[in-house]
Amino acid sequence: MWPKSITAFFGGLALSVSIMLSLYLLTPFATDVKLLLGLIAGFLIWVGAMVYYFSYNSAKGCGIACIKLLLLSVAVNTFLFLTK
């Protein structure tokens, strides 16, 4: 359970930071609204990702799912930063 927990914790954190940054860049709201939205959404995504990762049978499956989602999200972010 420890490898799965560590993957879920850090994988969820990385994914939430990445999606939160995408949200900040994509949403058309005022800065203060985006900051609040980012903060709340960040934690919700983190916990949601942890639930998703923990639902896998093994730490390996959990890790693969984590990397896939993270790569996708980082790719979106890279695109957004480059086209900003």
């Binding site: 359970m1 954190l13 203060d32 900051l35 609040l36 903060l39 934690f43 942890m50 923990f54 049978n57």
Partner: protein, 537 residues
């Protein structure tokens, strides 16, 4: 939640494994975080009455004569400045008296010693009689309320804020996974509590019923706990990726006004500042909580007035004035606010339950205690299940059992001991807050250690509750033997929180006696069952 749908999205996971995996992780995470989670909820439940506990601790020791004419604030502040080596490069803060608290709290940053100019210097925190202007004590001398509050949000440990944040995160996970696990029965078994079934069913129903009924409350607590304690994670991300390292810009966008004007070393009479404060205090719809002076006594002096707007829900107003000209430099009110800051304040208001009367906080208290019970019931479920499994070592079961009984019971006893210490240690003893903290820690550790040495956990729990009840009775007796006149005087002056806390302690004593009786009755039933079994055989 439809588990089939969830499984269909995950081809690698065999059917129905999602719920099994989540159940395993729910109980595993739950058992790891349970001691600290109990501590956080227990300390948080008591902290809901922070102001009342503070008044109970301090006011009988130093009763304020409300009939006496009040000394002007300027005279009080300048008298303190004359007494202490205040560092005029730093700010000076005054917390205002309230209907809970008849004292000014004056915070003075003292001049740093030579060679330590870069360190944060010593701060004098003075508790000042609002009528006579006399310094009655150092604020830290009456530490009980702050100690429990700090225990709640940072465990009184250096990196405690982040530990509490991580516990909140895993608590949030336990809630969401609990919803998934219990989803099918969420409505059908909403109020199900089977008293006629075996112990495991009863515990499971207790865990589920409390979990479901407190769900909106617990979700709010988990999220707000994260916002207060772990926002640093996203703050760092924002500063690095969005603000290119400029933290001040982030703070500005988040609505936190920063004034960093330097002194110009031209003296200024501060009377206009006190006029502004006096005018603001006369507003019916505004309750000043504190005033901060920047560049005191200098032409560059600025005052910051903060308080609660009583006409609106969770509206904390803030005004900055230049003292020399009386110009309003910046304001935050209902018509002019930052969404991030306002959102954070609403979250804080919901977290502390201070948006209505004491009745809401009593409701919050009951819910918090129910969650403490849910945590203990969860641990007992884990122990019952693991006791039947061959691959779990007896040592780990004994460890968790001792931690559950000794840790949770010990915390309740230690809190009672801290209350007694706060009451009976004379105010003149300079280390009184340290003595109170040591007494808390010693009683907690002793209860935990003894829990591993006693075989009958049920009997031990009854003994811990008995000790708690005895300590609380002593506290009430000490209250009335030492301060009966002052308590009556405070009641007449409208400071009723002292009696309110005593009523709370009394109710706790009643609840404790009931718990001891229930545990003893269960013990007798079990003994009768055990002695009857051979006869039946």
């Amino acid at each position: 939640m439809n588990t089939r749908t969830l499984n269909a999205k995950m081809p690698n996971t065999p059917p129905n494994k999602v719920i099994k995996n989540l159940t395993e992780s729910h109980s595993w995470i739950g058992i790891i975080i349970s001691p600290l989670l109990f501590l956080i909820f227990w300390a948080g439940a008591v902290t809901l009455f922070y102001e009342e506990v503070k008044q109970w601790a301090v006011a009988p020791q130093f009763p304020v004569s409300m009939q006496q004419p009040a000394m002007p604030l300027q005279q009080i502040v300048e008298a303190k400045l004359a007494l202490y080596p205040f560092d005029y490069q730093e700010h000076l803060m005054v917390q205002m008296p309230s209907h809970y608290d008849p004292y000014y709290k004056v915070y003075l940053d003292l001049v740093r010693e030579e060679g330590n100019e870069d360190d944060h210097g010593e701060v004098a925190s003075l508790l000042v009689d609002s009528q006579s202007g006399k310094t009655v004590a150092n604020k830290e001398d009456f530490f009980l309320g702050d100690f429990l509050y700090q225990l709640h949000y940072n465990l009184n440990l250096p990196a405690g804020t982040y530990i509490v944040g991580i516990i909140s995160l895993f608590f949030f996970f336990a809630l969401v996974s609990g919803i998934f696990i219990h989803a099918k029965k969420l409505y059908r078994h909403f109020f199900q509590y089977r008293t006629d079934k075996n112990r495991r069913d009863k515990l499971l129903d207790l865990h589920n019923v409390v979990g479901v009924m407190t769900l909106p409350f617990t979700l709010m607590y988990a999220l707000s706990g994260l916002v207060f304690n772990l926002a640093i994670v996203y703050q760092i991300a924002f500063v690095i990726f969005i603000y290119q390292g400029d933290q001040d810009s982030l703070f500005k966008d988040a609505g936190f006004t920063l004034f960093d004007e330097q002194r110009i070393e031209q003296p200024l009479d501060m009377t206009p500042a006190y006029k502004i404060i006096a005018e603001t205090r006369q507003r019916d719809d505004f309750n000043i909580s504190n005033v901060i002076f920047y560049n005191y006594g200098d032409e560059a002096a600025i005052i910051q007035i903060r308080g609660e707007n009583l006409s609106h829900f969770s509206q904390n107003d803030e005004f900055f004035y230049r003292v020399k000209t009386g110009e309003l430099l910046n304001k935050t009110d209902i018509n002019n606010y930052n969404v991030f800051r306002k959102g954070r304040e609403i979250i804080a208001t919901l977290h502390f339950g201070d948006f209505a009367g004491v009745d809401v906080r009593i409701l919050y208290f009951i819910l918090s205690i129910a969650i403490c019970v849910m945590i203990v019931a969860g641990n007992m479920l884990w122990l019952d299940k693991r006791s039947l499994q061959q691959n779990i070592s007896a040592r780990s079961i004994r460890f968790v059992r001792g931690l559950s009984v000794g840790g949770c019971g010990g915390l309740v006893l230690a809190t009672a001991v801290a209350f007694l210490c706060e009451r009976i240690i004379p105010a003149s003893i300079s280390m009184r807050s340290d003595v109170m903290v040591y007494a808390f820690v010693i009683s907690l550790v002793a209860t935990m250690l003894l829990a591993y040495r006693v075989d009958s956990k049920r009997r031990y729990l009854a003994q811990v509750i008995f000790a708690t009840v005895a300590v609380l009775i002593l506290t009430l007796l000490a209250d009335w033997l030492m301060f009966s006149e002052q308590i009556i005087l405070l009641w007449h002056d409208g400071f009723r929180a002292v009696v309110g806390v005593e009523v709370g302690i009394f109710l706790f004593i009643i609840a404790g006696i009931w718990a001891i009786k229930t545990l003893s009755a269960n013990n007798e039933t079990r003994v009768a069952e055990l002695t009857a079994e051979p006869a039946l055989d």
